[in-house]
Symmetry: C2
């Protein structure tokens, strides 16, 4: 399919940057964006451009692009829409590879804005540079340390996931949450109205980008339906693709038009296409992150047969109901597997079966290890899922025992060779529980680093497992 | 319907307590239970009974019930099943009003346990005392300061919600989460196998309890289907009833039998009955708490018409899709309401409509206040829902501006007289974001105290609003 890999690659991997509208004034997007690039540490020269300033955040400020010591490969424009064309003409004059236009006030506001947007694209095409946006938060790329509008605290490790988003807010949200989940990106692109480079271009780019294995996308609508379908098919044949499509309802379609000036299209058509191409359909930022986490640790199609474990009988009854809703299987524990667990797990309140109730959120550690090891060995399950009420377990064993329990979980995962999924929550969310929250996050990070995906609820864990099996 | 209010009332409001199997040894349920009662501060004499000890946690220990200075009204038995009958005979001898049997090892383990359970009930009925359990975590009652197995940190304020649960773990989980949400209880009863007092008794009790306005229940199965249906109808005609029923799937039904020895019954029948009686069906601990929060601040049937607000276009498009899934309405903003908001909200990136995009997660405060005030005045909406990305808003305004934004939200709720629902999340959950988590929890508590329900995601908020409208 027709798209220019090298042109897009040059924008995303730009080696020099100018920020037009850079500012030191707090509460301005221009200030937040400038600070983000400087804190995150763009790997190359960063030129701050503002005709009204001589110094911004301790750095020299230039009046315009022509005054820079060298033409920047990438220009980020953070000034209002009506002043953008003048800057784009300067871009054409000095010669740049790409421009990110952050301002809103284009197609999404009606006819005048649409004309302005078309004019900008015409100029870019005539002058040989590409535009991302307008109405966007830019690009996050850990390799050249370019980041999104408020992405100063994003992960610095390159990864294999690309996220494409029409919403700037969601691109930041996904980036931040994923940092806490140990999921790293090849890039995140917030492309807003997609005036020049659009969803099809980025889909194709990441489909062919050797650094990217998984592509997630938040879409409101598409510019060219036929081209997009072809791009989606091509991307899905090369990579795992996750799609979050909004505009299913009438009020949402209204909002889509006033947000990015897109036409949402018929959801039934979308749904059919996604199914046909083997695209994972997700909904909401949390679900996108949950699916990325499952893909990272379980891979695609890890199997639907679960061995459900918990310390407390209610957990298993509820989990089994949810599993059925998510079309997952909970095969009965029978024969030798049953007999061995029965022998090992001599604990009051325990119930041997699938679901398995070990009797309490934390039991004596040798028993804990032996039981979970046997559970992991159950040959008719593709993975083990353990639901732990951490707060309650803490009351039974204290911090040290819990620390050891985490080591046991990591050992079981390692030795059994079977995926282990953890559900870990604190059971309390008041101000007075903050010390506990710290413990929870520490444990979560430890498990994540050891290859165990951690979810905050059984329903989110099961949904994610179901989705990556589609 | 036939049930004895006074007998149940006497057990739940007991004025003296003996703990048989009290222990100071950590990692024992007997120790955790004893510590819980002492820390939470039972309002009356607490007698610790253990023939092997003379002192437990700095208090005198008694060898048996007969040695106590007075017969306790309530006896909690935390020793294994096979030793319970001897204690029950002592209870009969000294004369008590109620017994809570915490141990498992009864009906849920098969024939032998079932016989033991029946024997216990026969003795209790012959001797004039009632049994809660076995296989349970007991009773939480903030008035006499009786608490659940690990309920030492529960709220000390009496409230109007009763929670009945066959699962001990879920009873603790609901209690702790609700403390962080400012939801208080008349009582929580974990009744396990329900050998004597069962779901029907407690439903009827709380239906007639003048302190209780809302009854939530986690049920695995029922002992007497006919009696339960009558009890449910009676309860639902007097109070708001929320039911979480498990055992919908085959693996869950297996787990139900080995957990509390209950028969789950046909889910289709349950579903029909719940609809018929106007019972709210919920699923999962989070959803139970979400519904209780909505009931507290919005009441029953607050209306389905939403005015959706957020700072960022994606929020509204997504929220509108979810609203449709939850059968909620997002009426278009038209006429005078539209014109007034259009005049007030002169902010780049803002989109005036329903959903309303104020342009950024935080905008200059006078604009923020004026816009939300107008939005709250939209006459075709029953409530205002505001989705705030706190972490991003913090980047734009800092802590002081956010503090003022919270005051503005409280003021708008107060002055408009229209319910306001907040969605508040931090956008980051790493260890390094803990300071931010503290801010989030402080703001959440402030809003909750001011009558604004706060949800961690738009999907949970909308689901709760939908459920209380059923």
């Amino acid at each position: 399919m027709s798209f220019d890999f090298d042109e897009i690659d040059a924008v995303i991997n730009a080696r020099s940057l100018a920020i037009v509208g850079a500012s030191g004034k707090p509460q301005k997007f221009g200030s937040l964006f400038t600070a983000s690039q400087l804190i995150y540490g763009f790997d190359g020269p960063v030129y701050l451009v503002n005709p009204g300033e001589t110094e911004i955040m301790g750095r020299k400020a230039y009046p315009d692009l022509k005054s820079l010591p060298q033409p920047p490969e990438l220009v980020c424009i953070t000034i209002p829409a009506h002043r953008c064309m003048a800057v784009l003409r300067e871009c054409a004059e000095v010669g740049v590879k790409g421009v990110i236009i952050m301002a809103s006030g284009f197609r999404e506001t009606g006819e005048g804005g649409e004309a302005l947007e078309k004019e900008a694209v015409r100029l870019a095409r005539a002058s040989g540079f590409r535009i991302i946006g307008p109405n966007c938060f830019g690009v996050y790329n850990p390799r050249n340390r370019l980041t999104l509008l408020p992405g100063y605290d994003f992960s610095t490790s390159p990864g294999k996931v690309a996220f494409i988003s029409q919403s700037g807010g969601f691109s930041v949200h996904v980036g931040r949450l994923c940092r806490g989940l140990g999921i790293d990106f090849s890039a995140i692109v917030s492309y807003g109205n997609g005036a020049d480079l659009d969803e099809s271009d980025f889909l194709l780019y990441f489909a062919h980008d050797p650094r990217t294995e998984t592509i997630a996308a938040y879409l409101e609508g598409v510019k060219d339906g036929r081209r997009f379908l072809d791009a989606l098919r091509e991307a899905a044949s090369r990579k795992t693709v996750i799609l979050w499509k909004v505009g299913k309802s009438e009020p949402s379609r209204r909002a889509v038009i006033s947000h990015t000036g897109s036409l949402a299209g018929s959801y039934a058509v979308w749904k059919g296409v996604m199914r046909q191409c083997g695209v994972i359909e997700a909904s909401g930022v949390d679900e996108i992150c949950d699916v990325l986490l499952a893909l990272k640790h379980l891979g695609r199609n890890p199997g639907r047969r679960l061995m459900l474990c918990g310390g407390g009988g209610g957990l298993g009854t509820y989990a089994a109901d949810l599993a059925e809703e998510e079309r997952l299987e909970v095969p009965p524990l029978e024969g030798e597997s049953w007999a061995r667990l029965r022998e090992v797990l001599d604990q009051p309140g325990a119930a041997v079966g699938n679901p398995l109730d070990i009797g309490a959120p934390l039991i004596p550690l040798p028993l804990f290890e032996a039981s979970l090891r046997e559970a992991a060995n159950f040959p008719h399950a593709d993975m083990l899922l353990f639901d732990m009420a951490l707060n309650f377990a803490y009351g039974l064993g204290g911090e040290e025992a819990l620390e050891q329990a985490m080591d046991i979980l990591l050992r079981i995962k390692e030795k059994s060779g079977k995926p282990l999924v953890m559900v870990l929550y604190s059971r309390a969310e008041g101000l007075e529980d903050l010390a506990f929250e710290e413990l929870l996050r520490r444990f979560k990070w430890k498990l994540l680093q050891g290859g165990i995906p951690v979810y905050p609820s059984i329903s989110r864990a099961l949904r994610a497992i179901s989705l990556v099996n589609k």
